[in-house]
Amino acid sequence: MEPKYKPGDKVRILQRNQPGHVRTPIYVRGKTGIIERIVGSFPNPETLAYGDTGLPYKMLYRVNFRQAELWDDYDGPADDTLEIEIYEHWLAPA
């Protein structure tokens, strides 16, 4: 499986309402960040959690956000960041 994104790419997390065992927290949905690293391919937790195989595997990335992008009222220094793991099917180029 070839990763679609590479470190340094600007990405937006999809703003999607999806019930179930979703590993993309609401606070990052719709937000823009930078690919920090490619983690690799993993079983899809959205099906694995229900006794399924998790196939096809999904590419997983770590995405870096500026805190100010996530929280309008973040009152810490501007270079404070948050990093989180996001599967490729939750990402779009930004």
Partner: protein
Amino acid sequence: MSEHHHDHDHPTHTHDGKPIQEDPLPPLEAQILETSVRELLIEKGVVSADEIRRAIEAMETRGEALGAKIVARAWTDPDFKEKLLHNSDDALMEFGINMSPMELCVVENTDDVHNMVVCTLCSCYPRPILGIPPAWYKRRDYRARAVREPRAVLKEFGTELPDGKQVRVHDSNADLRYLVLPKRPEGTEGWSAEQLEELITRDSMIGVSDVLAPSEAGS
């Protein structure tokens, strides 16, 4: 285990000493389900009660000592540190640890960066290395606030950071588990790995505090 039990029922009761606060009681259905499945497995001879007890005992007796050994080794062996940061599977194999199917992501504190770990969605934690997560790590207030106002949370843990130091929060939400590699304190030049281990605390490897000062060794 906390010595502070709350048997009284106060639905609106909160503690001012945030971020350590009681969650609502767990859902009763989940407890019933767990008991039913466990008893069924024992009745059908799939597992024995003693095997379950042993597994719980093994899980609960794992502690942060292994994490401290790994950090002390990284402080004293630059090649090991490189491996730990970039190829943690191989580094952990030297300690007989296999994280599979998870992977360990080691994040390094420096003069300019402080790392802090949280799992906002549940309580993901590097259990093979640090054991059972502390009660506060699983509580909703820590999980919600660590990403939203990390500096305020750190301050409540007694960790005040200058504005010049970047705070990097890691949400352990999927397949990685995180270990903070704290900064080796000054004044420990020439210390052995065993001596250094005494300075490395559980909380410093989660990133809510610094390691102990050299003068606190053995305290």
